[in-house]
Symmetry: C2
């Protein structure tokens, strides 16, 4: 339960919606979310149209933090190749945390099934930003087929985070050689 007194009910709901469904699944009830946020259901429905809208708002609100955590800073002096590898080093590092359950933006889409769900749409857009980052770096690094490389990298990103999220693999000694092989095959410098 969030006890930071400075947070508004809206902020507490967004935080609950960012943490509880990640840990327990999107099927978590409105009551559990409101209880964790210390907000009445009545107040929740005054702030958000539905649980679906709360979930979508929470994903959107956290997307900047996700990008800051996953991507290297702009113009940090790293080469395009190093900037791509940076993302996967971050995944490997985050995957080591006991509370890691994989990429939330992938899990949300898998769990919600329909692509028309408001939260699925937000999650899809955020992952599209990551693909766009890979594509831009692949182009800057002179990759032979930047579109293909970007698709390969997001595929590895999703496979790796899913695999680590369910505890099937720890990623150590896996993700770096895999990405390196794909970058080399694309003549990426």
């Amino acid at each position: 339960m969030t006890t930071k007194v400075k947070q508004s009910p809206r902020e507490r709901l967004l935080e609950a919606a960012a943490t509880l469904p990640y840990r327990d699944g999107v099927g978590i009830g409105v009551e559990a979310l409101c209880k964790a946020a210390g907000v009445s259901k009545r107040s929740m429905y005054q702030l958000f149209e539905s649980k679906d809208e709360l979930l979508a708002a929470s994903l959107k609100e956290r997307s900047a933090a996700f990008v800051a955590r996953a991507l290297p800073p702009a113009d940090d002096g790293r080469s395009p190749r190093e900037r791509i590898l940076y993302v996967f080093e971050r995944v490997e590092s985050l995957a080591g945390a006991p509370e890691f359950r994989g990429c939330w933006y992938l899990a949300v889409q898998i769990e919600l099934k329909g692509q028309s769900h408001p939260a699925s749409r937000v999650a899809h857009q955020i992952k599209a930003q990551l693909t766009a980052f890979f594509h831009a770096e692949a182009e800057r690094g002179g990759a032979s087929a930047p579109g293909l490389l970007a698709r390969q990298l997001i595929l590895v990103f999703d496979g790796a985070s899913a695999s680590a999220g369910i505890g099937a693999d720890h990623l150590t000694g896996l993700i770096s050689p895999t990405v390196t092989t794909l970058l080399d095959a694309a003549d990426m410098h």
Copy 2:
């Protein structure tokens, strides 16, 4: 709803548990499962201890069909490299179906979160069989690091099926060059 008269209540429940949660998520209620199977809740609880056990039994019962659908026949004359590529051709082909929602054994583990859930344990074992297949073929094909290659292949398998399952990528022109690159890098023949 299943209407095949020859199926027993048990078989109808196993079929409902294999199809509805795949389409709608593991959060689907016991009532919906029983309704689809045309079986009373009382009968269901006489046959299965809980919804969790029904789900686990359904996954286990379908695993032979999954293996038959995903893997090449034993001793079919294909080389180890071709046998691995066969699996990914199957994924690409299955991913084109409108009802495709990705690998069910991965989704179940992502949706259930806990690795101790009976259905998660069954799903984990079935995926371990697939990894063992990749490992055996990698060894037979003289891969330089068969253990690493097997981990890479299951990572691509999971990333690809997840990506196609949420409609983020159609896999065409993606999965084959990715696997080929990894097989080449492992000197796999």
